[in-house]
Subunit: 157 residues, 2 copies
């Protein structure tokens, strides 16, 4: 089941993020900063967060927001699933939920940035499998030999 | 002369921004939001701002920041010159100052986003003239028929 984020979800999300080996310490901090922005600012936050609940346990979430100055470009800042529940399809369900979120708001683009490194091959394949294309690449972005890849899907009603 | 932004510059910047016909009301608001973030948070702000002063009058500024999770990608969020002083070369001086700012911090990329529309042709030419290349383009970004263009320069020491 996917539902709106509630403040009480914060600690479950933190403990999930801490268990993700793929994330660097800095990535964990930034992911949590957005959660805390939402806890602090609620409706006024730039971010919208939805969580995936299975058997009363939080096993995934995504965080999305409208790009300022655009009339319908949404960035998926984070889409995270619990490594212990990788086969549940929670990632795919969250992504489809995000696309519907964008559709309902008359959005046109949904974008997700990721890294070109081997660590993120599963993420890259996840977007390609879900019919995203690579809309932008910038060499040596995150660091030397670690390029930016922007995956995007143009949303049509 | 280019110097650090001081809180007292806020109103000069606002009155300059208000006189830029090219900016929509929304663009003006967002440009000012970043200035106000700097006024409010000072050193803790994500943004660094430098202003161009000629004969005691503020005639331009730029606002720059490090992209989170990168080890050296700097975004020029705004680079603005007073329309009454277009021929002064303040834009070019501010851009070169920004590049030095990045160089001093061992940055590798300096990026600036702009729109593909006719209104921004002068801006596009400004970056091309200053040896930036188009590193990314996304169709129908700001709105239908208004694409994102990302100009970038790879900084080498």
């Amino acid at each position: 089941m996917i539902r709106d984020f509630q403040k009480e979800d914060r600690d479950s999300i933190e403990s999930m993020i801490q268990r993700i080996d793929n994330f660097t310490q800095e990535e964990k901090l930034i992911a949590l900063e957005l959660i805390d922005d939402k806890v602090l600012n609620g409706e006024k936050s730039h971010y919208t967060i939805y969580v995936y609940i299975k058997d009363l346990k939080l096993i995934g979430y995504y965080c999305i927001g409208l790009r300022p100055l655009t009339d319908g470009v949404y960035d998926i800042y984070w889409i995270v699933t619990d490594p212990e529940f990788r086969k549940e399809g929670a990632g795919k369900s969250l992504l489809e939920h995000a696309e519907n979120f964008v559709k309902e708001r008359d959005g046109r683009w949904i974008l997700a940035e990721t890294s070109s490194t081997d660590k993120y091959v599963a993420t890259q394949k996840f977007y390609l499998r879900n019919k995203y294309s690579i809309v932008s690449e910038i060499k040596d972005f995150y660091k030397l030999n670690d390029d930016l890849m922007v995956f995007g899907k143009y949303i049509t009603k």
